[in-house]
Each structure stands twice: as C-alpha cells, then as structure tokens.
Amino acid sequence: MASALLASFFHPSEVVALVQYKLSAKANPNYSNNKLRERLYFFLNLTSRSFAAVIQDLDTDELKDAICLFYLILRGLDTIEDDMTIALDVKIPYLKTFHEIIYQKGWNFTGNGPNEKDRQLLVEFDVVIEAFLQLKPVYQSIIADITKRMGHGMAHYATAGIRVETIADYDEYCHYVAGLVGLGLSDIFAACGESPMLSKRKDLSNSMGLFLQKTNIIRDYLEDLHDKRRFWPKEIWGKYADNIEDLTKPENKEKSLECLSHMVKNAMEHIKDVLDYLSLLQNRSIFRFCAIPQVMAIATLSMLHTNYQIYLRENIKIRKGETVWLMKQTDNINAVAAIFRLYTRQINVKSNPLDPHFVDIGIICGATEQTCVSKYPGSTAELKRLQAGVLAGTSGNILAAAAVVAGAVALRNSFA
C-alpha cells in the first residue's frame, strides 16, 4: 500500500481512490455454510486474484458460480497444456477430451510437475467437477463447448507448435486463448437473461478477448522471449527486424519502436468492437465485470505506446493507484467511453510523427472520438469530469507542496 501511494504521489486523484479502496475493501465472502463453494472460491482466489475480485462482485450466485467454474475449468485445462514436464503423447488426449472429463465425477490429476503453480487445482479437481455437475444444464453445455474448442486449439498448437506468421495466425491464436472466453461469457450472460444480442454478436465477443490478449502479448514481449515463446506475428515484426530478438538491440531502437507502434495500432483496431459490446450490457454488475479488464487494457496500451522499456524489462504495469482509480470510474458505458477517449488522446499525444503508423493511429483515435460522441454522447460530460478530477488533484498537489515549502521556511525562520 505504501509503495502504491508513493507511486501515485503525482496523481492525487489516485491517492484518493487508493485510500477509499483500502477503507471499503470487503472481506472475502463467507462460504463456510457450504464446504464445496468454500473450496471452489478458495481455488479461484488461489489461481487469479484480479479475476476473483470482479467475479465476486457479480449480482447472483447462479452467475457467480457459472463463471467461477468456467474459469477454473479453463484454468485446469491450461495447467495441463502449460506443463512442459508432461509428455506430448500423454498431454494431447487430455486436451482433446477435457470437455468430457469434466463430466466424470471424482476425476483428478496428479501428473503435473512439482513446480507447476496451479498443481493443487488439478489434484483436487473432483471438487470442481462436483460443482460443475450441479450447474444448470445450459451452463454446463456452454462451458463444455468452449472447453472442447479451446482444448482442440491447444492440442493443435502443442503438436504443430505455435507459429504466428501472419496477422491472421495472430488473430487465430488469440481467438483460441482469449476470444473463446469472450464467446463463452456472452453465452452465459445470455442464458441468465442478459441481452440475447450478446451471444449473436460473436465478432464483438471475440474482439473483447482479442483486445485484452493482444495488450498482454505486447506487454510480455521480453518475458515471452526469455521463455522461448513468440506471439508477435512475423508479418509485423519481420518489417523491422530479421529476428524477433533483434528488437532488443540498442542499434535497432528506432525500428523496434516502429514495430511497437505497429503492434499497438493492430490492438487498437478492436476498440470499436469493445465499446459496441459493452454498450449492449444491461446489468451493472455484468457491465463492470466485462468493462474493468478492458479499461485496464486501454490504460496499459497507452502506457506501452512508444515505451521502449518493454524491450528492456519485464513486468511493466500501470500503477496500482491508477488501477484502483479506473475501477472506481468504471460504472456505465458513458464513463467507460470517456476513459477510452482519455487514453486514446494520450496515445495520440505520445505518437511520434516520424513513425510510419502515426497517421493511422491518429485515425483510430479520431474514429474512437467520433464513435463515442455519436453513440455515447454522455461520455463528453464524463470526460470533462475525469479531466477535472485529474486537474484538481494535480493543483491540490501543487498547493500541498507549496504548503510544505512554506511550512519549512516558517520553521527555519522561527528557529533562526
């Protein structure tokens, strides 16, 4: 907390948000009257802290449980796929049949290597299966369907290797690992009475996943490079370097930055879909559940844009204070549209006119503004409010600094 506060020193609106967040932080919900659910949510907290928080804010237990299980099942699948200590011929059948395994009462898996961080989830997977079988059949079949498709995708990539050559390959890969989650969530929302349009607009649901995944892929360039993974499409990086690892070389700095803005531009192409999707949501808790990760993604993308640091160090993140401030602001489509306008403007300001993607990124920023003004006119007032908040915070900061200086001078004088 202290370090987060310090990092937000020059962003006082974040300090306010951080303190409010700390004061209002809820205790984890109490599931002690239900051993099964207690264990389930224990695993959720264990495997994903960020996801756990937004899931637990959902309105109904029915929806919470369905999404929690959707998450845990995909996490289980991922834990098998991710573990390089499992031989390929052992792994593939599991990936391909995981959608059937989840119907087998009592099934669990102890084949993970000892260092696999989510090993315990599979060791006690019978808990997940038991809860899954208690879900309404409609949720079961949605989850099983996505699990099947994702498992087959993973099996394909595990055998053939992840070769992201073209932008189409890149989109396809992101579809399997993230777009499918968007599709599944939309079906779950539709099943519990949210707008049925959601499950019809597969393109929008897919973009929701792609925007998040692409932002992560850009951010994790160095980490993935060290782990010998490569998700940036050659169709893009090949324009700027002979080998993807050459992007880290200081002598290629200019080209590397051009490559980065090409990747950012590619991710930004999903913004319109993301806003379209979010505007279809009726229920406030579902809206926040969907919008918070997207808002974090645009803030992250803005931070990554023209930021050479991504080639120098791993684990670049937006400030904790900024995260909390954004969570506080994410309330309705107008506020979210305003946040997107705020960050796309930042992106445009950061752009280098000599960069070959300068004009195109400007066009996407313009298109975002244009869409928001026509479809979410309330976002203009929200944007003014956000900017005023940031500004008031900054001037408050200057005042505080001035007060400290004045105080110090007064002290010095009184001792002199």
Binding site: N348, P353, G362, I363, C365, E369, V373, S374
Partner: protein
C-alpha cells in the same frame, strides 16, 4: 446519341484541374474549361476545350454554356480575397451560372459548395445534411457559399436538376492554400506552436476524392435517384486530431518539431481578442490590416469539426478512392518535387 458535354467553371483551379482529370479518366464526356485564367501553354485536345471568361460577366457565361448538358460550378476565389470579391464571384457568379443553365437548357448543375456552410463558430460533431444552415457566419467566404448553395438547390426543377457537394479541408498536389500555408509555418519555425490540447478533430479530404464525388454526382443526377435538390458532405471519412495533419505533412520531409509550445485554448482566445483589438486600432489609424490571429481562427483549430458522410455513401455511392495517409504521401511528394525544381531554377 451525341456526346455528353460538360462545362467546368474554375476548371483551371486547384480542384477544377483534378475534376477535369477525373472526367477524362472516368467518363467519355467532352469537357469545356471556363476559367478567368487560362495558362498560355494550355492546348485544346479532342476532349478538352478552353474558354477564358469571367464568371461575373453574364453574357460571357451564357455564350460559354451553349450546347452543354452538365455544368460543374467549381469557380470560387481563394480565402485571402476581400469580402466584396466573395460576394461578387460566389453570389453574382452563381446567379449567372443558374441563369445560363436555364437559358441554354443545361440539364444538370453540380455546385461545389463547402463544409464551411455550417461555420458559425460552434463545434461540429458528426454534422450531417440535416444540420441547419446558421444565421450568422464566421466569415464572408462561408456566408457567400451558403447563399450560393441555397440558390442552386432552390433552382432545382424537372428541366434543371441541381445538387451541391460540401467538401471539408481539401488538400492535395497543386493545393494553393492549406498545404503551402503549413509549409510556410514550418519554414518560419512556427511549427513548434500548438493551440489547444489537440483533442479537436478535423476532416481533411484528399482532392482526388472530392473530384471523384463530382463525377458520381453528375452520373447520379437523374430524375428519381434522390440526388436532385440535395446537398452532400464529402470527406475522407477519417477525422483526425487537427495538429496531426501538419505534423504528418512535415514528417514526409522528415521534419519533426524538436519541442512543442502548447498554448492553452483559453489563453489563445485572449491573445486572439487582443490581436483583434490591435487590428481595430491600426484600422482607426488608417493602416492596412491583414487578418491574423483571431478568436475565430482559434476556435476553428481547437473545436471539433467533422462530418457524417453516410448520405453521400448511400445516395451517391461515394467512398474515398485515396485514403488519408496515401493522400498525405502524394501531396508531399508533389510539394517536395516542386521545391526541388525551384531550387534548381534558383541555381
């Protein structure tokens, strides 16, 4: 069937020349260029005839229009001309064109209007053709264009079908105003200045797209097509932050401002006001005043000013043929070449 004859007023101007090129490329019309200035080296071809003539001279206009089927009324003076000239050319000239069309049985009249017919100094966001024409205008140019457009659209009748095109921010090779203006700013080193936070969007339109829209309008200006009596906004459909445009132009010359001085919008408005007052004082002292830094200009730059082109897309089937980025490249390739030619001449 005899060959369709199309007359282009101002056919030797920046946009006019592009329209003539598009007519050559996309139609089989015979083309007549009516312009106050015909260059000495202009030679008629089997498709192009030149007539030197003043649009404000009714008799000359009548004579030139004889035997034509289509008129594209493009002629209009550049922005730095005095107010009286605008009234004379844009209003009287347009009246002459309408009269001549009626008298000479020209069946189709396409008027090159301007998106600035909505310029009353307030922001324009996704403005479409239902947006009312303002009562007051920021400058005579916009006002006279709006009056002329109204005259043209009201002249629409079964024997003379009319329509109006409203391009915004035309730029391209041969551009005499926008692009050279930005290049001047760069030469003077003023490109480090920025008014406002660059959040205002502006619609720039590559000249070939505007020319192309004229061809579409001519072809679709037939009974029952929903084009006659109508105005259409024409842009590239890609509004961008205003200051991106000069930066993109400069970047083609590999020039980028080493630092930026950003003048806050409100402060710029105050400076504009003071500069206007200064101008008034100078005028009172009988000195010549060139319009400089005014509040109107500050607002024009900082406010949103972009349009909705779906009517042109739907009814004219218009889509930009050259993208904005490509337009920037082609424009600067031309101006860089011109500069090099001039540098050679100077030697």
């Amino acid at each position: 069937m005899p060959q369709t004859k199309c007359l282009v007023t101002g056919g030797n101007g920046f946009l006019g020349r592009w329209i003539v090129q598009e007519l050559i490329k996309r139609t089989d019309y015979a083309i007549t260029i009516l312009d106050i200035f015909i260059p000495a080296n202009a030679t008629a071809t089997d498709r192009i005839t030149y007539i030197a003539g003043d649009i404000t001279d009714a008799a000359a206009v009548h004579a030139a229009f004889k035997g034509h089927h289509i008129c594209m009324h493009v002629a209009s003076p550049p922005a730095h001309f005095p107010a009286e000239t605008f009234k004379k050319i844009n209003i009287e000239g347009t009246q002459n064109v309408i009269d001549a069309c009626r008298a000479e049985k020209v069946g189709r009249l396409i008027y090159t209007s301007s998106a600035s017919v909505l310029s009353d100094g307030s922001p324009l966001e996704n403005a479409d053709e239902t947006h009312p024409i303002p009562k007051t205008f920021i400058e005579t140019y916009s006002e006279t264009k709006a009056i002329a457009e109204d005259m043209v659209l009201k002249a629409n009748s079964p024997t003379l079908l009319t329509c109006s095109l409203r391009p915004s921010g035309i730029f391209g090779p041969g551009d005499t105003q926008g692009t050279p203006g930005f290049m001047d700013v760069m030469k003077k080193g003023q490109h480090v200045l920025q008014i406002g936070d660059n959040s205002g969007l502006f619609d720039w339109t590559y000249v070939e797209n505007v020319a192309y829209s004229h061809i579409l309008a001519a072809q679709k200006l037939v009974p029952g097509a929903g084009v006659d009596g109508q105005a259409f906004f024409i842009t590239n459909g890609t509004p961008t932050p205003f200051w991106n445009h000069p930066r993109a132009l400069m970047a083609e010359k590999k020039v980028v401002a080493p630092y930026m001085i950003i003048i806050n919008f409100h402060i710029a408005i105050i400076i504009g006001f003071l500069s206007e007052m200064f101008g008034v004082l100078k005028k009172m002292m009988g000195k010549d005043v060139k319009e400089g830094f005014t509040r109107v200009r500050v607002r024009y730059i900082a406010y949103n000013r972009y349009f909705n082109i779906s009517k042109a897309q739907k009814i004219l089937g218009y889509e930009p043929v050259v993208g904005y980025k490509e337009g920037i490249k082609r424009t600067m390739a031309y101006f860089i070449e011109q500069e090099e030619l001039q540098a050679k001449k100077a030697k």
